[in-house]
């Protein structure tokens, strides 16, 4: 009896080992370069709602039917999960599986690049006919994200910050749309008014975001005085911070600004408490719904330098993908082809393809038009190990202390420098 049992156990173990050694890549089966057989590409993406999900499936189907390389893309939706999407992707890739291509966030690039999971796209982009259809600045942003001179990430669509303003308030205060940084600061002053005559300010010039996420509009002030994000301690960067503090000290922004987040700045703008605020196209439909024609936009004006923050969604090709040529065809279709057009029309995101940007549907949308104008000087914050904590804790706390007068602009910038770069 014992012998039979031992024999059975050994047999099962052998069977498992044999089956285990037999590698089956059913999740991304790629079939060489034989053109009569389909080249299968698995693409992972997240969608904000079922309509977007259905659109991506339709884009994949259209691509499958229209490409002449017999490439068959299987689009697989994965939950965004508050950014957990990237972790799922990482686990799958480290487990030897995962997709051939995937929708992407730039912040994940260093981790995946450090583990050699991403394909370098330089040679593909150099040979690509549509290379110049994408703003060269975007390629630079992609390089910055990877921390090298190589491109690992293919641009797809963006959300570029700009200034929302209330034309009626500009008219009442006799203010023209600012075209320079100085004019913008002046507009903040002029638009701050007591409209009811009770001696109290009821309209503030600018809706400042002092809570988490506020570093994005804040960056534009730093560049406005000629500073940049590589060194916060320069005289120019400190001067930009001083402007930011002055807006609060002089009462041109609501007194709640140090703790105001996304919801507050949008609500203040919609209710008429502020005359200007900074956000991207994602909030435009809500603005129009609340304010009708009494909302417009302009790019954050240029000072000594011009910069605005950019939200991003890209695509990547994984190193383990056997048919990178086919995978590139797919991500190129999403970047400059019909896929780009369809996706941006549905989601309202800003296209990266100049051809698509020039389409009447995008040009006729005033918010889209301003977003597109901002693309050449849009950028991102440095992606470092410290970035997440810097954004969520260090920037809001330090800025709040500076606004409250507990720190000078120079001290605050020194602290921000230390928090992000360590020195």
């Amino acid at each position: 009896m014992k012998r039979i049992l031992v024999f059975a156990v050994i047999s099962v173990l052998c069977l498992l080992m044999v089956t285990g050694c037999k590698k089956k890549d059913d999740e991304s089966s790629t079939i060489g370069n034989v053109t009569d057989k389909p080249i299968n590409i698995t693409h992972w993406f997240w969608a904000d709602n079922p309509d977007y999900s259905a659109k991506m499936q339709q884009i994949a189907t259209d691509f499958n039917n229209s490409n002449n390389m017999n490439i068959k893309v299987s689009a697989q939706e994965y939950p965004w999960e508050g950014g957990g999407y990237s972790e799922t992707l990482f686990t799958a890739a480290m487990g030897g599986g995962g997709p051939d291509t995937a929708a992407w966030k730039l912040t994940s690039t260093p981790l995946f690049k450090a583990n050699n999971l991403l394909a370098v796209l330089d040679s593909y982009i150099d040979k690509w006919d549509d290379k110049d259809d994408i703003e060269s600045n975007l390629y630079e942003v992609m390089k910055t994200a990877g921390g090298s001179d190589s491109i690992y990430v293919m641009p797809w669509n963006t959300q570029i910050l700009y200034v929302y303003y209330r034309p009626s308030m500009f008219k009442d205060a006799n203010v023209a749309v600012p075209t320079t940084y100085e004019e913008f600061l002046e507009a903040c002053r002029k638009l701050t008014r007591d409209t009811t005559g009770d001696g109290k300010t009821d309209v503030y010039g600018f809706g400042m975001r002092g809570s988490t996420g506020g570093q994005e509009p804040w960056g534009s002030f730093i560049y406005g005085r000629g500073g940049d994000l590589s060194d916060f301690t320069t005289t120019q960067a400190v001067a930009g911070m001083q402007d930011f503090i002055n807006l609060f000290k002089k009462g041109y922004v609501p007194p709640t600004a140090p703790t105001d987040g996304f919801n507050e700045i949008i609500a203040n703008f919609k209710s008429g408490r502020t005359a200007m605020t900074i956000h991207h196209i994602g909030s435009s439909s809500g603005m129009v719904e609340s304010l009708g024609d009494d909302v417009d936009a302009f790019p954050f004006p240029a000072g000594e330098k011009q910069w605005t923050s950019m939200g991003d969604t890209e695509n990547v090709i994984f190193e383990k993908c056997d048919n990178k040529d086919a995978a590139f065809q797919w991500v190129a279709y999403l970047a400059t082809g019909k896929g780009q057009e369809e996706w941006c029309k549905t989601t309202g995101n800003v296209p990266v393809s100049k051809r698509v940007q020039a389409l009447p549907e995008f040009q006729e949308n005033k918010f889209m038009k301003v977003s597109i104008k901002g693309a050449p000087y849009a950028g991102i914050f440095p992606i470092l190990d410290t970035t997440t904590e810097w954004i969520s804790t260090i920037w809001p706390n330090t800025t709040a202390a500076a606004l409250a007068g507990n720190k000078t602009a120079a001290q605050a910038m020194q602290e921000l420098q230390k928090g992000l770069y360590g020195s």
Binding site: T19, C21, N49, E77, P79, T91, G97
Partner: protein
């Protein structure tokens, strides 16, 4: 006077706390349901309403017609059912062996079973993913069944072992004296007595498999998605489909409620069985 005081104290110390606890427990379900039947303008409107001004079931319609929710429901049901049956089959035999036979390594195996549940599931994700991939079962329901049973079998063995150890050996011995062999004694004598405990264990396994997310998101794709992943897909980066999400949530708890309804009596018997050692 005494009766009045007694009624007051019953109200203050029994019914009032009970009502408050019930409110606390049931309000999330109520709110989920109310959200699922609110029209869009009311759902995203500025005024919070505790009962919709106009009731609509469009979210439920959209969930099944546009979102194809039946597909993940079918997958979830399949995975949960197979996991339950497989776990009950394996663990009832295993626990019978552990309770009735004394063999070398018995204690070591029992402890080994427990250690399995001590590891956080996230720690096992990458190894399990690689194993499923190499076995060629990744993105099939079998991958989920295997990974779930990895955790449910040890737990069930311990649960059933406690109950079986309480059953006197004389039960089977009597049957065996009358001519039954070991297998017959197990199936005809022990198994019927074990039913309440099997139901309790089965309900636990079914619910665990039905609601599991971490493995489900890794080991399934569009074809084999289960309910928790499908519902999570409705929470996007820039927005949440509250109507569909809450409608899906309500639909998801229905099978569990039905299961409880039928198994309630046996479930209580099963959960308390083995708790008192004689």
């Amino acid at each position: 006077m005494e009766r009045k005081q007694s009624a007051l104290s019953r109200f203050l110390f029994l019914y009032l706390p009970l009502t408050l606890i019930l409110l606390f427990l049931l309000f999330p379900f109520y709110w989920t349901f109310v959200t699922s039947i609110k029209p869009e303008q009311e759902l995203y409107g500025r005024v919070v309403t505790y009962w919709p001004r106009s009731v609509t079931f469009s979210a439920y319609k959209s969930l099944f017609l546009d979102y194809n929710f039946l597909h993940p429901m079918g997958n979830s049901f399949l995975v949960a059912l197979i996991t339950t049956l497989l776990t009950l089959f394996v663990s009832s035999l295993a626990s019978y062996s552990f309770s009735r036979f004394r063999f070398r390594g018995r204690k070591a195996f029992m402890i080994l079973f427990l250690t399995n549940n001590m590891f956080p599931t996230v720690l096992l994700l990458i190894p399990l993913y690689a194993i499923m991939r190499n076995l060629g079962i990744l993105y099939t329901p079998l991958a989920l069944v295997l990974s779930y049973t990895t955790f449910t079998i040890p737990f069930s063995v311990w649960l059933l072992n406690g109950y079986l150890s309480d059953l006197p050996m004389s039960l089977e011995e009597a049957g065996m004296v009358d001519g039954a062999n070991r297998a017959q004694a197990f199936t005809r004598i022990i198994l019927p007595v074990l039913v309440p405990c099997l139901i309790a264990t089965g309900v636990y396994i079914f619910m665990t498999s039905w609601n599991e997310y971490t493995f489900a998101v890794m080991f399934t794709n569009e074809r084999s998605r289960t309910i928790p992943v499908s519902l999570k897909n409705l929470i996007g980066q820039l927005g949440v489909q509250w109507d569909l999400l809450t409608a899906g949530g309500i639909i998801t708890i229905i099978p569990v409620c039905v299961l409880f309804f039928f198994a309630q009596k046996r479930l209580v018997e099963g959960l308390t069985a083995g708790a008192v050692k004689g």
